[in-house]
């Protein structure tokens, strides 16, 4: 952490007042950006932020000059991309990484993890993740990000989800799960119901995805721009 401010200072010296993001927008095909972009990946890791465009830009530079590729940086980008699910960022990154590089042990692991997430096999995912702590703990916030994704998929699918299903998906049980639930009851509008006297059922917030009838209202409307086309006729 101590190195961060120093790095930022260096960057600013190099580029005057431009941030890396601005540079990527202004001049996306510039090999001189490589080091800045690598530092920026580290910055995203430590500050728990994310910028897909910058990371793709870096992978592109690696693609153009494979000799300059840094495996640890690529690993960080991929983990960050996993954390961005449900967006397809992980595949977007893989499209740019040469096949022989993808054969590296740690990348194979990440590809397996991505596969479990893509097919919603959360139990296998958490088992596999536990075995590969060393790769993943480099990036803070990983678990929370995956839990958020799991909750996203559950909310697409369920109106009411049984407690054990939720527990498996987010890998939290017992007392910690109670705390977790309490937090979401207060902050995300979750409701707990008792079902048939057996176990708890969690009612997830309504959305057009788990209440498809909500969607139709938007489909029926006509965008304003389309209506403007007939203004000359009406006047």
């Amino acid at each position: 952490m101590g190195r961060e401010p120093q790095q930022q200072q260096q960057q600013q010296q190099q580029q005057g007042s431009f941030s890396v993001e601005e540079l990527v927008n202004v001049n996306p095909y510039n090999p001189d950006l490589l080091t800045d972009l690598e530092n920026f990946v580290n910055e995203q890791v430590s500050s728990q932020t994310y910028n897909l465009d910058a990371n793709l830009c870096l992978l592109r530079l690696y693609q153009f000059e494979p000799a300059r590729m840094s495996i640890p940086i690529v690993a960080r980008i991929l983990i960050k991309a996993l954390m961005a699910m449900p967006a397809p960022d992980f595949s977007l990154c893989l499209f740019l990484i040469p096949e022989q590089v993808q054969m590296e042990e740690q990348f194979k692991t990440l590809i397996v993890l991505s596969h479990y997430l893509e097919t919603a096999r959360f139990r296998q995912f958490w088992d596999e993740a536990a075995k590969n702590r060393s790769i993943l703990e480099v990036v803070p916030g990983f678990e929370q990000a995956i839990q958020a994704y799991a909750i996203h998929v559950l909310s697409l699918t369920y109106q009411k989800v049984p407690r054990p299903v939720l527990a498996e998906a987010i890998n939290i049980e017992g007392l910690s799960l109670d705390k977790f639930l309490e937090y979401h009851i207060n902050n995300s509008g979750w409701v707990i119901e008792k079902s048939h006297g057996r176990s708890q059922v969690i009612v997830l917030p309504r959305s057009e995805f788990n209440h498809p009838e909500l969607k139709k209202n938007t489909a029926d409307s006509v965008p304003f721009e389309h209506v403007t086309r007939i203004f000359p006729v009406l006047s």
Binding site: P31, Q63, F64, L156, Y158, F209, V222, I230, V233
Partner: protein
């Protein structure tokens, strides 16, 4: 002259030989620099199309593009050129880059002379150079700002088809415009679909625009847009645009029969049907498809689409076949390493994209099964459906969640939309199926009819005056 005579003369005089060299022509045009650059650009284009260029000619063509774009970028050009010509220039530039990358990647059986040339001209068709020329054309032309200002009614661009009727030149502006499409294509060749779509974003493809004037540009735009969307799992976007353009080609292809691009049009047409077949197999949205397109599709791919639904080995073979047939010619952009044992690596990029695509297909293999069951029920318990599908309950839950995940597209801003034809939700242990009904877009239909009616009335009024 550009669209007609040049090709007629080519057919008559230079079917299998190059046109006279620019040096031979120069004295007749007072050594006009720009004329010679333009002439040479066409000279090389003809050479690429009819003969096979040598390594040296490839390099010379690159140099010529550098000089030509250099002149354009510095604003020395003051003429107007047909859109068709300017599009062809950008299109050919990207094509020759792709062709050079393929050529450079086939290192086996290269002669020493050829290797020497590769070494000597390692900057020719360099990927940075190509991208930066296109990017520079976009920026220098300020085309993005022009399109922005047009939206606010401050500037005319689409209304004049990009031409300048006030004495200025359209060359830089239009090259900039077409370069956005060129960038989309280069990014697709590199496998960078997200960045490709970002380059195209200033052009609103939901409407007609300058990109639709030249059919080559129209097709290239939609083909690459659709392909990138397919790879990003935005199936509905891809299906919608493929449907539109295929209908357009169906209607208008007869007018292009004599065009030198006719074969190219037909080829892209076939490729887009193949891509459409893939999209619809992964995401059945048949109601988005217009009748005529649908019957063409059935004629071409009915058997294959039935096979793709089955998700057995034969199905993968069909996905593989259609993808390989219809995908862009992917390239490896890095310069070759000429010291190691020389190998051919020109297929590497394609193999990677194919592999990752089939991986995606595999992740979705159980979805068509679940879809056909869901269609039969309005409610069914998890336990019962698991029995029918011969899996255990927790596996079924993962399949159902996969279905939801894969059928929801995430756009570049992170907004999520449902692409599902059959939707459902789970209440504890019971699945409730919601068949999405065809919501006809009456609003749009009425708006179009109102405009049409107004137009007709206007015409009738004019008739009376005569």
């Amino acid at each position: 002259m550009y669209e007609g005579s040049f090709h007629r003369l080519t057919d008559r005089m230079f079917r299998e030989s190059p046109w006279p060299s620019a040096e031979a022509i120069a004295p007749y045009v007072d050594n006009d620099h720009v004329f010679c650059l333009l002439y040479r650009e066409m000279w090389f284009r003809h050479l690429y199309a009819r003969l096979s260029p040598t390594a040296r000619q490839r390099v010379e063509s690159w140099d010529n593009y550098c000089s030509l774009f250099g002149v354009v970028l510095h604003g020395v050009v003051n003429m107007q050129l047909p859109n068709q010509w300017l599009w062809d220039m950008v299109d050919e530039f990207v094509y020759q880059f792709q062709s050079y990358c393929q050529y450079r990647a086939k290192l086996k059986n290269r002669t020493d002379d050829e290797l020497q040339l590769l070494r000597q001209y390692d900057q020719a068709w360099n990927v940075y150079g190509v991208l930066n020329y296109l990017q520079a054309l976009v920026e220098k032309s300020t085309i993005i700002q022009i399109l922005e200002r047009e939206k606010e009614g401050l500037e005319q661009f689409t209304a004049t088809d990009g031409y300048d009727y006030e004495g200025g030149s359209n060359v830089l502006k239009m090259l900039g415009y077409y370069s956005m499409i060129g960038l989309l294509r280069v990014h697709c060749l590199l496998g960078d679909y997200h960045s490709g779509l970002k380059c195209l974003a200033p052009i609103d493809i939901s409407q007609q625009g300058v990109y639709t004037i030249v059919i080559g540009s129209h097709i290239s735009t939609i083909y690459h847009y659709g392909f990138a969307s397919l790879m990003l799992r935005r199936y509905v976007d891809a299906i919608r645009e493929f449907n539109k353009i295929l209908l357009y080609i169906l209607k208008y292809k007869q007018y292009h029969q004599k065009s030198p691009q006719y074969d190219q049009i037909l080829k892209k047409n076939e490729q887009m049907y193949a891509l459409l077949a893939i999209c619809l197999s992964l995401c059945p949205q048949t109601k988005l498809i217009e009748e005529n397109v649908s019957s063409q599709l059935k004629e071409k791919y009915n058997d294959k689409m039935t096979k793709m639904q089955r998700y057995d080995d034969e199905a993968y073979a069909v996905y593989d076949e259609l993808f390989s047939y219809a995908c862009p010619k992917f390239i490896t952009p890095a310069a070759p390493v000429l010291d190691e044992p020389l190998t051919n690596y020109n297929q590497d990029a394609y193999r990677l994209q194919l592999k990752l695509f089939l991986y995606e297909v595999k992740q979705q293999q159980l979805l068509s099964g679940v879809r056909s069951f869901l269609k039969l029920y309005s409610t069914i318990s998890i336990g019962k459906l698991a029995q029918y599908m011969e899996v255990d309950e927790s596996t079924l839950r993962t399949i159902l969640m996969t279905y939801k995940h894969k059928m929801h597209a995430v756009d570049s801003k992170g907004n999520i939309t449902s692409n599902a034809d059959v939707d459902f939700y789970i209440n504890e242990d019971i699945i409730h199926v919601v068949e999405s009904k065809t919501t006809k877009r009456y609003g749009d239909y009425f708006l179009r009819q109102i405009l049409k009616f107004e137009e007709m009335i206007g015409e009738l009024d004019r008739v009376k005056l005569d």
